[in-house]
């Protein structure tokens, strides 16, 4: 009997989580091996694994994976390095927020993928162009969310710090930042996930390496096994980076969990 908001044990949580993956593969296998879907449109799980092995062993797919990871991390770090200070300043100082917020809100809705033609014109089809797409896709989102996180700092904590003699710099460095830090880390984790979708789009056009590039190549050859393998690799890397990020955050902010 399940009841609303009843907790679930750790073991059942793991079992249930894995069960859906198993179910998913079962349905996929049934659809393909059972002949319900033509092989041209959807490879079966075994073919997919086989193609994946070929990719890794014969076609140097590891290099593509490496390129993609480097682009995501590079563009993301660039965006975070610029967006975090701006977001903190906007959250702390309302005139700065009033000055920048409307533009950033507008820029947030500019689709990063639509910049690809412009960026190719400006930056060519090299690495810089890929990084810039991820940068554009992430930077405005991070700024806005961090502004909110910092602006939501508990007022009574700020007042307490003032009565303890804190300067304005002390308020930012020793109250606003540590108070918003766990949320900032969560925001970065979230946006890193989005950066993964931008990188693939960036690699679909005008690229000679990366997971996205492999996927377009495979499309030309109608190799759905390789395409699906590429997609699954992206999913796995995303899952791993998310897990690492979560563990890192928990280690960084023990007071949150205490």
């Amino acid at each position: 009997m399940i009841r609303p908001l009843d907790p679930v044990s750790t073991t059942s949580r793991t079992v249930l989580g894995l069960a859906f993956f198993v179910l998913f593969v079962l349905v996929w296998a049934l659809a393909t091996f059972g002949g319900y879907v033509p092989k041209t449109f959807l490879a079966d799980p075994l073919t997919m694994l086989h193609e994946g092995w070929d990719l890794l062993a014969k076609y140097g797919f590891v290099f593509d994976i490496g390129m993609t990871i480097w682009r995501v991390v590079g563009g993301f770090v660039l965006a975070a390095a610029i967006a975090v200070p701006i977001g903190v300043l906007m959250g702390a100082y309302k005139p700065i927020e009033a000055f920048l917020e409307p533009f950033v809100s507008f820029a947030r809705y500019l689709p990063a993928s639509a910049f690809i033609p412009l960026l190719i014109l400006w930056a060519g089809i090299g690495e810089l162009q890929k990084l810039l797409i991820i940068f554009i896709g992430s930077v405005f989102q991070i700024i806005l969310m961090i502004t909110v996180a910092v602006g939501n700092t508990r007022r009574d904590l700020v007042e307490a710090a003032y009565t303890l003699g804190a300067s304005d710099r002390g308020i930012i460095g020793r109250v606003l930042l540590p108070s918003a830090a766990p949320e900032i880390a969560e925001i970065l984790r979230l946006v890193l996930g989005w950066a993964w979708t931008y990188v693939i789009v960036a690699e679909l056009i005008g690229s000679s390496s990366g997971i996205g590039h492999m996927i377009t190549d495979s499309q030309a050859l109608l190799n759905t096994g390789q395409i699906i393998f590429g997609i699954i690799v992206i999913g796995l890397i995303g899952l791993i980076s998310d897990f690492l990020f979560k563990a890192f955050n928990a280690w960084l902010f023990p007071w949150k969990l205490a």
């Binding site: 904590l157 009565t163 020793r174 108070s179 007071w255 205490a258």
Partner: protein, 261 residues
């Protein structure tokens, strides 16, 4: 020597859409002497917290000024330590680091900071909890730490805004005794806001009764109960007489609030 002077301080909150401006405080004149423990007693919404926030520099008076040792208060500062009703320990700092917050802000060296913090940790009886996060503490322990945090700065005056208001009755009584013990030892000037009559008498050497909104000082009563005071004083004839008198004073004000609502 007079330390704190409140001169013609009033506070009117500006009109909000559809509402008239709120007069929270009538012009108030008050002098608080060195080493005094003054409790401000009043019904909820009488502006007693507003008065305390103005002294702390967290709110500005509409008219008048606050002088501490002859210097006008223009903003919050380390010379006026404050303890709030809500739990305001910094959740990312341990008990020790919370207590040392003001010292660190003033640039006190690390080792000396640790020494001062440890002394206060001992004083509030939290020796085993120096490295705990606020989340791991009970409400009473958190407020004890908050008092230590304010005292560690060695302020000229300690401002307390219903610090025990959120605690259960038994804990509150113990906290009152602890605070009184600290005061009897240090004789730090204290301004303590409460709506609890017994608390006001037990702690104070002087009780100021505030009227219903707009707040003004309605009565100024000296409490002559001897120090050190133990909880037993609460059943003495003198205490009971004071309580009876204050119950009447506060009841009249509370009735006004209810009639207005």
């Amino acid at each position: 020597m007079t330390m704190l002077r409140i001169a013609q301080v009033s506070r009117t909150f500006p009109a909000r859409a559809g509402h008239a401006p709120t007069r929270a405080l009538e012009p108030i004149d008050l002098a608080i002497g060195d080493n005094d423990f003054v409790t401000i007693l009043g019904p909820s919404g009488c502006g007693k917290s507003t008065l305390l926030r103005i002294v702390a520099g967290l709110d500005r008076p509409t008219s008048g000024r606050v002088l501490l040792d002859g210097r006008e208060v223009t903003g919050p500062g380390a010379d006026r330590g404050m303890v709030f009703q809500s739990y305001t320990l910094f959740p990312w700092l341990t008990v020790r680091d919370n207590i040392a917050f003001g010292l660190r802000e003033r640039g006190v060296p690390d080792t000396e900071r640790g020494k001062i913090a440890d002394r206060f940790i001992q004083q509030i009886g939290l020796s085993g909890f120096a490295n705990h996060w606020p989340k791991q503490l009970s409400g009473g322990m958190q407020q004890r730490t908050a008092i230590a945090r304010a005292l560690a700065n060695d302020p000229k005056i300690l401002l307390l805004d219903e610090p025990f208001g959120a605690l259960d009755n038994q804990t509150r009584v113990l906290m009152q005794e602890m605070l009184l013990g600290i005061w009897e030892r240090d004789r730090k000037t204290v301004l303590f806001v409460t709506h609890d009559i017994e608390e006001a008498i037990f702690l104070g050497s002087r009780v100021l009764v505030m009227s219903a909104r707009p707040g003004r000082i309605k009565a100024d009563i000296k409490i002559e109960l001897p120090h050190p005071r133990s909880y037993k004083v609460k059943t003495s004839a003198e205490f009971v007489a004071l309580k009876e008198r204050l119950v009447e004073e506060i009841r009249a004000e509370a009735l006004k609030v209810v009639a207005e609502a």
